[in-house]
């Protein structure tokens, strides 16, 4: 299957004298984390299927600096940002789609002040517009018929950037039952990974945040917990395992669900 993936790099495109429509910013999790790599591939399959002319930076991509910034290391963040901006500007990048809400937020909101101005969207927004434009048909609707899906709002997509509808509209095209958790949208509870928590042990408390959030999800008795962030994915997957429910409940990125439904 993977040999079918077309993943041109910016360098290759440039050498061939071509200019991509959009840069796919894969992100660190999407590049290195085994679970997240699958999400990356699902996004690529959708882009390939719709003939979106895109490219990745490949080995020229580097961390946006998000975890450093949230942890208070403004020096490191700005170093990363300025190096990335040099690369992006050298390729005259105008439009970026990211596979991660943290990259999305940082590139979109925090790079402009350091001189990096791009049109940045999250992959759910891109995929939704492909569906809206009729370029992507989600026909294998049967795959999810009768399944109950609940969507966990990633903080950096929802509250941080007010993107609540795109992922939900995508799920609606699946012909599945969409069930909301009691804390959703603006009230959605964090999965516990944000603010650089992903990279450290939690402070002393009486519970892990991802367990609290998984309980919210279990309450609606879903077949699938959907999300739009590789870190939320890790946290919710661990949470589901903690309740020994990994046999019954899948944690999936909306991009993966769409790719599956579209038979990719």
């Amino acid at each position: 299957m993977s040999e079918l993936l077309k993943v041109p790099t910016m360098a290759e495109m440039m050498a061939a004298g071509e200019v991509p429509e959009v840069l796919f910013w894969v992100g660190c999790a999407g590049s290195f984390d085994d679970r997240a790599k699958k999400i990356t591939k699902a996004i690529v399959k959708i882009l390939n299927k719709c003939d979106v002319k895109f490219a990745v930076l490949g080995t020229e991509e580097s961390c946006t600096g998000d975890p450093a910034k949230r942890a208070g290391n403004e020096f490191l963040f700005q170093m990363q940002a300025m190096m990335n901006i040099q690369v992006l500007d050298a390729y005259e990048v105008k439009k970026i789609v990211t596979g991660c809400p943290h990259c999305f937020n940082t590139l979109k909101n925090e790079y402009p002040e350091l001189g990096g101005n791009y049109g940045v969207i999250h992959h759910t927004q891109l995929i939704q517009s492909l569906i809206d434009e009729g370029k992507l048909k989600v026909e294998g609707g049967d795959t999810f018929k009768g399944k109950k899906i609940t969507f966990h709002d990633p903080c950096y997509l929802g509250r941080a950037n007010d993107v609540y509808e795109a992922p939900r509209q995508m799920l609606q095209s699946l012909d599945a039952e969409l069930a909301e958790m009691k804390r959703c949208r603006t009230k959605g509870l964090c999965c516990g990974a944000g603010g650089a928590q992903m990279f450290k042990e939690a402070e002393k408390g009486n519970k892990e945040v991802n367990i609290e959030r998984t309980e919210d999800a279990l309450e609606v008795k879903p077949d699938i917990i959907a999300t739009g962030c590789p870190f939320c994915n890790t946290m919710m997957t661990d949470g589901v395992k903690n309740f020994n429910k990994e046999g019954e409940i899948q944690v999936m990125d909306v991009a993966e669900l769409i790719a599956t439904a579209a038979d990719l």
């Binding site: 591939k41 208070g72 909101n109 007010d162 509870l189 603010g195 408390g205 959030r213």
Partner: protein, 444 residues
């Protein structure tokens, strides 16, 4: 005549003391660093109208919102009656607008009376909620002592105030019926105010003429004394939000919540480091004493908006009850962050007034009030910012203090220090080589 003099003194002292207290708080807030919030005036007015005046965010929790609205409406509308009380007090007349305003006067006072009854009910409900129902956000650690007392005092004061209003209007009604009221007699036999025309005769109907006079005067003076006490209690209380909610929402952060501020001092240094041709001596060294800390150790390192936030905080705890860290038993409470900031700022302000501008008491917001453990528990999820009914941003204070810990003291938790090193060396928070970034493409 004596009454007019006493009233005038009361008015001067009441308003003068209030002005002094406000000035003190303003000076404290201006100890903060500068931040520009003068752009986009129309958007700012809109935010203020919706969030402060319209209480938009309160309605996320409908029951307290309705009760709060009753109190708020009574508070705002009752102020109209104060105009007459001031005028009467200064001229020695009684109900001087009744003759000229006629039916409209009856309507206004009736409206105020009805709102007062609603406020009376709401006050009891709030007292019960605070003290009988065990609502977690009112019983947490930071809500013991003064904050708890403060919450109850104002409710009790509200009840007393409303009692005074009905003593004043009720006794006057009976006096008017007996033709004894000092108000101009229009020959109509009753003031016809919605509530006091019933309550008055029922409560005070059996009293002698002289007792009636006494009750009416106690009501009138009690009312005005309560108003002035309230005014001067505000600046020492969370109830200052009644006023500060307006500027605080006007100066709201209008950017996306995910956008953290850019630290410009850092930008300059990073640019120097990145540019091989830059002359490190070209930039003029900042004058001694002007060197700004990176991040915040004490309240004076925060922006004036952070400090305004701290005085505006209503201590309602909506932020804390939505905080993932707090809900899972961590030490962090965004409400406590705001209360600590305010308490420390009060302390710093007092020190400056007592000992002069450069006095150092050896304490700071970080460690003496807020611990590193609290700061590191935050997931930067913005739930607290989203929930706050008066647009306070506890997360920006947390971030500034993390910046200080990391950049000035190199005190990040060790796993985070490792994460920093990884980003520096490999361009990723984990120990993977940047050269392997595209490997996923060929894996199965």
């Amino acid at each position: 005549m004596v009454a007019i003099i006493v009233f005038s003194i009361l008015l001067l002292v009441g308003i003068g003391a209030f002005a002094m207290n406000v000035g003190r708080i303003r000076a404290n807030i201006l100890l903060g660093r500068d931040v520009d919030r003068t752009d986009n005036k129309s958007e700012r007015f809109k935010t203020m109208a919706l969030v402060a005046l319209g209480q938009k965010k309160m309605f996320k929790r409908p029951i307290p919102a309705v009760l709060h609205l009753m109190l708020y409406a009574a508070f705002v509308i009752t102020q109209i009656e104060l105009i007459e009380i001031f005028a009467d007090g200064l001229t020695g007349q009684h109900r001087m607008f009744r003759g000229s305003l006629g039916g409209f006067y009856t309507f206004m006072i009736s409206f105020i009376e009805i709102l007062s009854i609603l406020a009376f009910i709401a006050t009891f409900a709030f007292l019960a909620r605070r003290n009988l129902l065990k609502i977690p956000r009112f019983t947490m650690k930071e809500m013991t002592g003064w904050p708890k007392l403060d919450g109850n005092l104002i409710l009790i004061a509200e009840i007393i105030l409303i009692c005074f209003i009905f003593m004043m209007n009720g006794a006057d009604e009976v006096m008017y019926q007996r033709g004894l009221s000092h108000a101009e007699n229009l020959g109509d036999g009753s003031f016809s105010f919605a509530v006091s025309q019933w309550v008055g005769p029922a409560l005070f109907g059996g009293m002698s003429d002289s007792s009636l006079e006494l009750v009416e005067r106690i009501g009138w003076w009690g009312h005005i004394v309560m108003v002035f006490s309230f005014l001067n209690y505000l600046p020492f209380s969370k109830h200052f939000h009644i006023l500060l909610a307006f500027p605080n929402t006007y100066y709201s952060n209008l950017e996306k919540k995910g956008k953290f501020t850019n630290n410009e001092a850092v930008t300059n240094e990073v640019k120097l480091m990145m540019d091989p041709n830059a002359d490190p001596f070209a930039a003029p060294a900042p004058a001694e004493g002007e060197v700004q800390r990176f991040g915040a150790k004490d309240v004076t390192d925060l922006t004036w908006k952070n400090l305004l936030d701290s005085y505006t905080c209503t201590e309602c705890g909506r932020c804390t009850s939505s905080c993932p860290a707090n809900q899972t038993g961590k030490l962090l409470s965004p409400r406590k962050i705001m209360m600590d900031t305010r308490d420390r700022l009060d302390e710093v302000g007092k020190n400056i007034r007592k000992h002069g501008k450069d006095y150092d008491d050896g304490k700071s917001l970080l460690t003496d009030y807020i611990s590193a453990e609290e700061l590191w528990a935050c997931t930067s999820c913005n739930a607290c910012v989203e929930e706050c009914p008066v647009n306070i941003d506890p997360l920006s204070i947390i971030t500034e203090m993390r910046r200080y810990l990391v950049m000035e003291e190199s005190k990040a938790p060790s796993e985070l220090a490792t994460m920093f090193t990884n980003i520096e060396n490999n361009g990723a928070p984990w120990q993977f080589s940047q050269a392997d970034r595209l490997k996923w493409k060929d894996e199965n």
